[in-house]
């Protein structure tokens, strides 16, 4: 009897949990089509007004563009740095290896606000650099580097090295071995690392809050509008757009992940 109740209860809880965590996102998408200047209930009919406003607003579109530029560069740079480091950390043995691994993880030991402020005062008062998209990237790369490195290290640890040795025995030179054996086998890890770097950058509020200059990213734009209570219906359209983009990215990674 107890067993039956816990099994049923767990089942119910599982589906309730999924429904509840998706509810805010679904409501946001639905209400971005609500014909009302007030955010929320009641429903006053369907409109494309807010989406049109968003898609015709050059400043809103440039914010979207900024976000994707920052996220793409963050993903590529942190994956590249992580890949180089992961190769050495997994395949070589040397003194101080643990120390180096932990120091790459260090950014995760502190709340992002402390790091964000540290970088801010360093760039502004010591180096005298103006804030821009570039400074946001600096912070984002720092925060996605631990994730990218760990993911690639995990992939390399599970890597069957005899495949590389076999290629060498069969006469392939080092470069060919790397290109034909190593890269294809590490590729799924690289995809995951790119994906994680991209999303860490795309969703970050804290780092970008401190390191953004006049050009901002989507979360910072949304944060600012929510704070000032201005233009909220259009912000809903932008948010709905971002939710859809994330849905597409997740579906793609789901399909890619299923194949491997």
């Amino acid at each position: 009897m107890l067993r039956y109740i816990t099994a049923k209860g767990l089942n119910f809880y599982f589906f309730l949990f999924i429904a509840v965590i998706y509810l805010p996102l679904i409501l946001l998408v639905v209400f971005s089509f609500n014909d009302s200047i007030l955010v929320g209930f009641p429903w006053r009919g369907f409109t494309l007004r807010w989406w049109e406003q968003f898609l015709q607003d050059p400043s809103a579109l440039s914010v979207v563009k900024n976000s994707f530029i920052v996220a793409s560069i963050t993903a590529v740079v942190s994956t590249a740095l992580g890949l180089l480091a992961a190769f050495v950390l997994v395949r070589r043995f040397f003194r101080g290896k643990n120390l180096i691994t932990y120091s790459i993880l260090l950014p995760w030991f502190l709340p992002a606000i402390v790091t964000g402020i540290g970088i801010l005062i360093f760039l502004r008062s010591v180096l005298g650099i103006e804030l821009s998209l570039f400074t946001i990237m600096i912070g984002h790369i720092l925060f996605s580097l631990p994730a990218c490195t760990l993911i690639l290290m995990a992939r390399l640890i599970g890597f069957d090295r005899s495949l590389e040795e076999a290629a060498r025995d069969l006469g392939a030179n080092e470069f060919t071995t790397f290109r034909r054996i190593t890269i294809p086998l590490v590729m799924p890890g690289i995809f995951v690392a790119l994906f994680i770097g991209f999303t860490i950058s795309l969703e970050d509020v804290v780092i970008a809050h401190f390191l953004a200059g006049a050009d901002v990213t989507i979360p910072i734009f949304v944060f600012g509008q929510l704070r000032r209570w201005s233009g909220l219906p259009m912000v809903m359209a932008i948010s709905a757009f971002m939710i859809m983009i994330m849905g597409v990215i997740l579906s793609i990674s789901w399909i890619l992940g299923k194949r491997t």
Binding site: V88, I100, I117, G257
Partner: protein, 298 residues
């Protein structure tokens, strides 16, 4: 190819270079954009600021200020934030653990797909999620609409938004989907024959859970604690959007002293306290977890 080889050969021959060169970009980044900035933060916490000019006075007055300024408001905020962070950690793990348990032990097919679906909301920016939650529990949100249409109240209830428990609730709901993953990983590794053996020896389901499943999944619980506790300690975004005057956290004080108050040295001293607390907690957790466990849960 020959140029390629000519550059690579000396590097490959030297043990130090072949290890040092690939590591240097990542180490440079950590050094230059993490360790040095934190050093600057420590230095500024001993300085003073007049207008926009920083003056090296080298004393502890900022640290004293943290305790004394505004009648101990800042230490009060710190204590409150620690309490809220503890609530969020316990709450989000408590919500996520049964889900991880269900996916690992009850679902047989498409586990991977369910996991992606569960983590979905985590990949949406936090400000957007909070905005979405306003449509659920805000003044003109779904919950108020439902309660009013049932005739339970005639006016929307305003206590659900702009309060400290709103902040705690939102953070719990925001972190729970992500925490399913590390706990799932450690539940998956439990040898199911242990559970069968315990059942054969007459242990009831509750005993089996308490004696086998829970202890063996503790690494996942620790990783989850690490993932949620550290960021929440410095939280300032949620209080701004949903906390009102009651929901202010320590992070807001730090944010204000850098963005609106121009009190960098005081803000640095505030940050140093946060830094010491989170470094202590993180180091303790990592020592219990080990690097391998952290790696597996990604």
């Amino acid at each position: 190819m020959s140029i390629f080889n000519r550059i690579l050969k000396p590097i490959r021959k030297s043990e130090k270079l072949s290890i040092g060169i690939p590591l240097s970009p990542a180490m440079f980044w950590i050094m230059f954009f993490f360790l040095i900035p934190l050093g600057i933060l420590v230095i500024y916490s001993f300085w003073d600021m007049v207008g926009t000019r920083l003056i090296p006075v080298w004393d502890f007055h900022n640290y004293v200020d943290v305790f004394t300024r505004a009648g101990g408001m800042y230490t009060g905020l710190l204590a409150k934030s620690l309490g809220m962070s503890a609530l969020v950690t316990v709450g989000s793990i408590a919500l996520a653990y049964p889900i991880a348990y269900f996916v690992s032990l009850r679902i047989e097919k498409y586990k991977y797909t369910w996991l992606i679906l569960l983590m979905g909301p985590y990949f949406v920016s936090w400000v957007i999620l909070v905005f979405g939650w306003r449509l659920v529990i805000g003044y003109s949100g779904l919950l108020n609409q439902v309660i009013m249409s049932l005739g339970l109240t005639s006016e929307p209830m305003s206590w659900m938004w702009n309060n400290w428990w709103t902040v705690v609730f939102l953070l719990i709901m925001g972190w729970a989907p992500w925490l399913v993953f590390p706990m799932f990983v450690s539940l998956e590794k439990i040898d199911k024959s242990l559970l069968e053996a315990a059942a054969d020896l007459g242990a009831n389901p509750i005993k089996r859970f308490l004696k086998i499943t829970l202890p063996l999944s503790s690494p996942g619980l620790l990783v989850a604690t690490f993932f949620v506790l550290i960021p929440v300690l410095g939280e300032f975004v949620t209080p701004v959007l949903a906390g009102g005057s009651q929901g202010v956290m320590y992070g807001n004080a730090i944010d204000a002293s850098f963005t609106s108050m121009m009190a960098w040295p005081f803000g640095s001293a505030l940050s140093i306290f946060l830094m010491i607390i989170s470094l202590t907690v993180a180091t303790m957790l990592i020592r219990m977890i080990s690097l391998e466990k952290l790696m597996e849960s990604l």
